[in-house]
Symmetry: C2
Subunit: 331 residues, 2 copies
């Protein structure tokens, strides 16, 4: 029924007239009045105004969103790394040899920092271990179980509640205005799909992410897809416009990110003809969330911050622009 | 406006009631009455019947279609190979060295058979030459120009008119019943996208195909994606369920093919829980089109034909089941 409801909603909205929708600023109640909110509403209003000079047909209203640090948090470690660490711990009883093998040994002693200290190679091995050796159906269940039980260390809530309320409102506002919203993230595509529809209203076929190789096998006559411990595609930096081209095949007119890893996606989006909208979420709120940018190892925003200034992209100052950060803060 | 129109249509159809739609058998006027047409209508009727035991929510009504030999022809050579041969001829003036280099030398002398005789390597080189060295935007224009001017050798019409009228009706019938239709083809994804929306009503983000590697570059400050002469993904056989998982992330409930290259897609589709529909187009009409199956080098249907019998999949006998093959035959 969801499709039909969506159809009825779209039809009702169409009947109301696009201008009315664009001006429905209370679709973004968690955004404080200011330049960021104004820029969003102005853009949506002009591209949906039929007969206007900036009108964009609905089929071309593609909006792409990074996930980590843009739709949900990414501190104190990427949530998918937290998943992988938990997964390794859960698998440890089947792997007695890990007691003497890094990075597992440190991790199993509770020394996460030590386990990750050897850098990308250690993280890569932990990620591969957590994301391969099972079928795609099994992996989906593993992630859903983790999401249901794991808690964010600071907020003591499921990771899927550590999502940005203003961005949830923005996703819904864009969709109500005929946009098709996609995730384009360095995160694993099958990891994100396990919750994206429920949490963001984004169906699996609109999630683009990093992925591993898979093999197709018949097990007792039943076909399965098995996840292999080899990276197939890294959806970060240059990979973002490439991933967009691979899966969507047309250029977004709006793109949303928070780090230098999103810069190429924003460049690619901005360089198309006609009206374009690019937005960076700048983490400036150490009190309600975190404050980090140019020096951070997670979600570094350095070149992107400079380019946003040069090109006039919208930069959200989290502290100033967001009245509410997380859904659980709402009165 | 197309999205809004689609929304209004869906809303109107929803108001009419799903059962009515399912029984609107004249949505398939080019299908002769018989077991194939009956099987299609029965399946659509039962999965759209709200409250029925086989009801499938619209979001899960994913239908995947092979392209070559299923939606459009593939004889006497794959149409994309015809494109590549034409492209090599168009590029020849810039490559005087091709006069002494196979497979180009034979091809440029008009000896296509000779050029392709050295097998997969020769075809691979011609395909790589035709599909790389330009930006994605340039390639899109090259294909659109070719589609506008090239003619099928037997039917003397644009290749995009050598499409199967009954399958066009089937695509529209499924979409009117809330299905999301995807192409899943061994053909090049960017080749197919250049006409899939206009010809099949399938937008670029619902086309899955083989693809080459790409690089992201800034040219005079403007970002471009450049097509490289290296295969990234082969969307055939095992690649089809893998491609479906990569892009759609959920299992189709209906799949349509014509060759052994589609077998894994049909197996994967059939093995899901709940109602499933698998269909093979069997080319049995030498008079109106072509007749080929177990021995053909193009579109071989051998193992698939056996498995269809064993598993009770629908096999379209083109000669018997299709009242009209091509749109241009219609009275």
């Amino acid at each position: 029924m969801r499709e039909v409801q969506r159809a009825l909603t779209l039809a009702a909205l169409a009947a109301m007239g696009a201008a009315t929708i664009g001006q429905a600023a209370d679709a973004l109640p968690s955004w404080n009045e200011g330049p960021a909110k104004r820029a969003i509403v102005d853009f949506v209003t002009k591209v949906t105004k039929e007969g206007g000079p900036d009108f964009v047909p609905p089929a071309e209203r593609i909006a792409t969103f990074d996930n980590d640090g843009t739709l949900w948090g990414e501190q104190p470690i990427y949530f998918q790394v937290a998943f992988a660490l938990d997964r390794v711990k859960a698998l440890a009883p089947e792997h007695p040899e890990w007691k003497d093998k890094e990075p597992y040994a440190s991790l199993l002693k509770g020394d996460v920092k030590g386990a990750l200290a050897s850098g990308e190679k250690a993280i890569g091995e932990i990620m591969a271990t957590a994301h391969s050796g099972m079928t795609t159906d099994e992996f989906d269940k593993i992630v859903k179980d983790w999401v249901a039980t794991a808690r964010h260390p600071r907020f003591k809530r499921p990771y899927t509640e550590v999502v940005y309320q203003p961005m949830l409102e923005l996703l819904a506002y864009l969709r109500a205005n005929g946009f098709k919203t996609f995730i384009v993230s360095g995160g694993g595509v099958e990891f994100m799909r396990a919750f994206a529809e429920r949490v963001y209203g984004i169906p699996p076929e609109q999630v683009i992410g990093s992925s591993g190789k898979q093999s197709y096998e018949l097990r007792a006559g039943k076909p399965v897809l098995v996840k292999l411990p080899a990276l197939d595609f890294l959806d970060d930096k240059d990979g973002k416009p490439i991933g967009i081209q691979r899966v969507i095949g047309r250029r977004p007119i709006a793109a949303f990110g928070n780090s230098d890893g999103d810069l190429q996606m924003l460049q690619w989006t901005a360089a198309g003809a006609g009206p374009r909208f690019c937005l960076y979420v700048h983490h400036t709120d150490a009190e309600r969330e975190w404050a980090y940018d140019r020096q951070s190892t997670i979600g570094r925003l350095d070149k992107g911050l400079d380019e946003a200034k040069t090109k006039g992209w919208t930069v959200v100052d989290m502290k100033r622009d967001w009245g509410v950060v997380f859904p659980f803060e709402r009165p």
